[in-house]
């Protein structure tokens, strides 16, 4: 089965998962040397994290009359917020930026939450400034307010996009299937654009210092529920796992 990584960790601690290293018959791929590809909890390997899809880079840019994009690219977050504020103030409803998960915004802007060296949460001055920009856009009516702060605002934002109330929505590519099938008129004026590369993350999330990263990705985890029996073969990204039991 596949789990969101935080869920897998909690489930493993509660004994709901089988350790993979005790049951795996064959594991191909460089997983044992690459610790980053494993989920080790309490000294046992419970699975192999992998990005199921690159979320939020399947960008939908709808060049509407009030916010026509000259090139198909998603602007950096700061530019999006400035545009949302401007359009919200001058043409309510013309351009709206949907909110996403906060930690994704921070990653994108190179604002780590965890000081890895001290295992402490530290909020930087630039983080306050970023939230202040969100607040400005919100007050100006430039943010889509439907389920703005919910953990999963996908249903609300995709509905807003399909109805033309949301000009720009970063989602996994598969979200465009719903637009294509439910709102062909909107789909015809939809373009895909990659997520912009963010600032470097200072190594806070495991990448090399100075490397620019894009926020997003749905980090999944191949896992086996306790009591799983039989032969299972799973491909998790670059890793192929065959379980013979």
């Amino acid at each position: 089965m596949q789990l969101n990584v935080p869920w897998a960790y909690d489930y493993a601690l509660h004994g709901a998962l089988e350790p993979v290293d005790e049951t795996a018959g064959r594991i191909s791929g460089d997983v044992h040397r690459r610790r980053a590809c494993r989920s080790d909890f309490n000294g046992k390997v419970y699975g192999f994290p992998h990005y199921k899809q690159r979320q939020r880079d399947g960008l939908q840019t709808k060049p509407c009359s009030s916010a026509r994009a000259s090139t198909v690219r998603r602007p950096p977050l700061i530019e999006q917020l400035a545009a949302a504020r401007s359009f919200g103030r001058n043409r309510p409803g013309g351009f709206r930026a949907g909110a996403r998960q906060d930690r994704g915004h921070f990653l994108e802007e190179g604002l780590p939450l965890i000081d890895a060296g001290r295992a402490q949460c530290s909020i930087r001055r630039r983080t306050f400034a970023l939230i202040a920009r969100f607040a400005d856009a919100y007050k100006a009516g430039g943010l889509l307010k439907d389920k703005l702060f919910s953990e999963d605002n996908y249903p609300a934002s995709i509905d807003a996009y399909k109805s033309g109330r949301l000009a720009n929505d970063g989602r996994a590519a598969s979200a465009l299937i719903r637009v294509r099938d439910d709102a062909p008129d909107i789909y015809r004026i939809t373009e895909a654009a990659p997520a912009p590369m963010g600032a470097n993350d200072d190594g806070a999330s495991g990448s090399a210092k100075g490397r620019h990263v894009a926020a997003g990705g749905w980090l999944f985890h191949f896992a086996m529920p306790r009591g799983t029996r039989g032969e299972v073969a799973v491909e998790a990204g670059p890793v192929r796992v065959v379980l013979d039991q």
Binding site: V5, P6, Y9, D10, L13, F41, Y51, Q53, R54, Q55, D57, G58, Q101, D102, R103, G104, F106, L107, L113, I114, A119, Q120, C121, S122, I123, T127, F128, I131, A132, F134, A135, Y138, L148, F149, E151, A172, A173, S174, L176, I177, V179, R180, Y187, A192, A193, P194, A195, M197, D201, S205, S207, R211, H212, V213, A214, A215, G216, G217, W218, L219
Partner: protein, 71 residues
């Protein structure tokens, strides 16, 4: 990419490139990361809608995170 490719096909092609540069934040070794994340989201919400001073809201969230990270 075929000329007739729609936004979905283009998005899939974009998604296939650069998987190695995407990141998400997770804190291993901390039981209840979802609760930490929820506390952060609550703080951001309070700051954005003006229910609370931004710095005070985020400082409160950081204090909560640190109380959990120390365990």
């Amino acid at each position: 990419m075929p000329e007739q490719a729609g936004a979905y096909e283009k998005a899939m092609a974009i998604g296939a490139k650069g998987m190695d540069v995407v990141r998400t934040l997770y804190v291993p070794g901390c039981l209840g990361f979802e609760r930490l994340n929820k506390r952060l989201q609550d703080a951001v919400e309070a700051g954005v809608i003006g229910r609370k001073d931004i710095q005070a809201a985020l400082d409160d969230a950081a204090t909560y995170w640190n109380s959990k990270l120390k365990r």
